[in-house]
């Protein structure tokens, strides 16, 4: 770390060969780290295209030979992957919508409105960040079992419609606080209601934070395994994340289809990242943790 800081260029230093030479160590370290970060991902993709006999070779071989995309077909034959995918998409759509709408509403209330006790409520909201979900998990399980929600998808998405979590509320509040008040005041003088102002003025100006919360929430729902493990018993109700683990056998693990399933799980998240990358950068900067 010392080496990197000593290499820090002074802002107004004249550019020239000495400067690029001074930066050479930085590029070497960056390249080394990039290789280390990329190798596992490349290995995942290559492994998913290998026949299992080639996977179990020593020393490990890089290039798939023969090229074996059948793993991608086989995972659908081994487990009801389509069903898992549909279940996940359903829970995700319902849950993410709930999180984004309600956390934006609550965040707006905390950012812009004043009422007796509201600051205390916000304090409580932030305090729940410290509360591990394990404390409420067991009572919630009992509550949901009393109303017959065990082995249904309801426990996975219904709670998302109640504020969407302290972290998302906080992100929205930070972002809304930075929007100039004049924007809504003009609309309200024209007679627009609070909700209308929120819906028509505030939200359209908050694409960055909406993208940020949406993406983080999609990632959370897509990868969650804790709640599905607790609430879903029958296989046909499982989610993708849970279904992928079922390819890991107690005795025999089908590594080929397992790698293919992992790729299948990863690709949508990568695509999503690239689609909203601009907003994520912007959102991280604007809501910047200060």
């Amino acid at each position: 770390m010392q080496a990197t800081t000593t290499a820090r260029p002074v802002h107004n230093q004249s550019p020239g060969p000495t400067r690029s030479l001074r930066k050479a160590p930085i590029y070497i370290v960056l390249t080394a780290f990039s290789i280390v970060f990329l190798i596992p991902a490349i290995w995942l993709i290559l492994s998913s295209l290998k026949q299992e006999s080639q996977m179990f070779a020593w020393p490990p071989q890089w290039i798939p030979n023969p090229f074996w995309p059948r793993n991608y077909v086989q995972m659908f034959e081994l487990v009801p992957m389509t069903q898992y995918l549909l279940n996940t998409l359903k829970i995700l759509a319902l849950g993410v919508t709930g999180v984004v709408i309600t956390s934006a509403m609550v965040g707006y209330g905390f950012a812009r409105l004043r009422a007796p006790g509201l600051n205390i409520l916000f304090g409580i909201c932030l305090a729940t960040l410290m509360l591990p979900s394990q404390v409420t998990m067991i009572p919630l399980f009992v509550m949901f079992s009393k109303i017959g929600w065990i082995d249904t998808h309801y426990p996975l998405w219904v709670p998302a419609w109640f504020g969407g979590g302290a972290w998302n509320i906080f992100l929205f509040r930070q972002f809304f606080s930075a929007i100039p008040r004049e924007l809504e005041e003009a609309a309200m003088i024209d007679g627009a209601s609070r909700f209308r102002t929120f819906w028509r003025i505030i939200l359209p100006n908050s694409k960055a934070v909406i993208a940020l919360v949406t993406v983080f929430t999609i990632q959370a729902f897509w990868s969650d395994i804790f709640n599905p493990v607790i609430y879903l018993n029958s296989r046909e109700k499982w989610t993708l994340a849970l279904g992928v683990t079922s390819l890991i056998g107690a005795q025999v693990t089908r590594f080929g289809p397992l790698m293919a399933a992992s790729v299948l799980m990863t690709v949508p998240m990568i695509v999503l990242y690239f689609l909203v990358q601009r907003y994520i950068q912007e959102g991280v900067v604007t809501t910047g943790i200060k």
Binding site: M1, Q2, T4, T6, A7, R8, P9, V10, H11, L30, S34, F37, L38, P40, A41, W43, L44, S47, P60, T102, M105, V106, G109, F110, L113, R114, L118, C125, M130, P132, Q134, V135, T136, M137, I138, P139, L140, F141, S145, P159, W161, F162, G163, R194, F195, F198, Q219, S223, I225, V244, I248, A250, A261, S262, M265, I270, Y273, V284, V285, I289
Partner: protein, 323 residues
């Protein structure tokens, strides 16, 4: 609105004041505030406050859902102290947190510092470092399970170039937690983005002024960079500690799916939350598991408070003059 027509309510409440309050700007704003925050307030009561109270009650009882709860006082808590598996789970969790959090923070901060050196193609580097943290944890674990495979894994294959004998990463209790740390470091680039944003917020004038005053690069780093981004670093630290304490997915995928192999080789992968899950949903010791959950909560609160006390006072907060 129906209330005002109610004769009783009308006599009990100072009606003109109420009407005044309701029609006043402040009153209407307050009403809007409560409506906007209602999803949280209602959700907090149903999904947090009530379950918390219920959970305390349960932690003082022995309960398996099927039979009525039996009061045991602090019995569950005292059983925890003598529980050998609980002690192993605590040890493993602490071990993992102490290794994974500092190393992860060092890697993500180191990368952020490098990317802040006005390098070419910053966006590409940033994307490369960030991408592994986008990979779903289940997929990450499955992938590393394969990379760390003793007989056919890539890591042992690469180590063999240096003449290092095959290591049983996931089968030898000495290496299982190290394996999880390696896995977590692969995702360390997630923090890089946030720290890099913080580094970019450091005003360059400060560096220029310090340079003119003769400050070396280490002095600039130590007395300008660190203080100004300390809130971001501090925040990352707290979030990482809380999150890492609750490790579940990796342990579940590697060892937790079968009750027979739960906890991995010689329980070297038995962590706090998976053990809690085992007690609650496999053994149906709901009271005992609730007691564990409260221990975890109290530990998290204490750790957070200690971090605020010891580090928080050194964190530099810029006074926002815009308001």
């Amino acid at each position: 609105m129906a209330i005002t027509k109610d004769r009783d309510a009308a006599t009990r409440r100072p009606q003109p004041a109420l009407r005044h309050w309701r029609s006043s700007v402040a009153g209407r704003e307050a009403l809007a505030a409560y409506l906007f925050t209602a999803p949280f307030s209602i959700g907090f009561l149903i999904f947090t406050a009530f379950p918390m109270v219920f959970s305390i009650y349960m932690s003082f009882h022995e309960w398996d859902i099927a039979n009525p709860p039996v009061w045991v006082g602090l019995g569950n808590y005292s059983t925890l102290i003598g529980d050998e598996l609980f002690r192993i789970a605590v040890f493993n969790t602490v071990y993992y947190v102490l290794l994974s959090v500092p190393l992860g923070l060092a890697v993500s901060f180191g990368l952020a510092l490098l990317l802040n050196q006005r390098v070419r193609g910053e966006g590409i580097w940033r994307t490369i470092f960030y991408l592994p943290s986008v990979v779903p944890l289940v997929a990450t674990t499955v992938l590393w399970m394969w990379i760390l495979n003793k007989d056919f894994g890539l890591l042992n294959g690469m180590l063999s170039w240096f003449g290092i004998a095959k290591i049983s990463w996931l089968g030898d209790p000495r290496y299982t937690k190290i394996s999880l740390v390696l896995m977590s470091l692969w995702g360390a680039g997630g923090g890089t983005v946030i720290l890099l944003a913080a580094l970019k917020n450091v005003p360059t004038e400060l560096y220029e002024a310090a340079t003119i005053d003769g400050a070396g690069s280490w002095a600039r780093f130590r007395h300008i960079t660190i203080p100004i981004i300390s809130p971001a670093l501090f925040f990352q630290l707290i979030i990482a500690v809380i999150g890492t304490l609750q490790i579940f997915t990796q342990a579940y995928v590697l060892a937790g799916r079968n009750q027979s192999s739960f906890g991995g080789v010689r329980n070297s992968l038995l962590f706090f939350v998976p053990y809690l899950y085992l007690n609650a949903f496999r053994f149906f010791k709901l009271g005992y598991a609730s007691a564990m959950a409260w221990v975890l909560f109290i530990v998290i609160v204490i750790i957070t408070l200690i971090q605020f006390k010891t580090l928080g006072s050194r964190v530099y907060y810029e006074v926002d003059t815009r308001r």
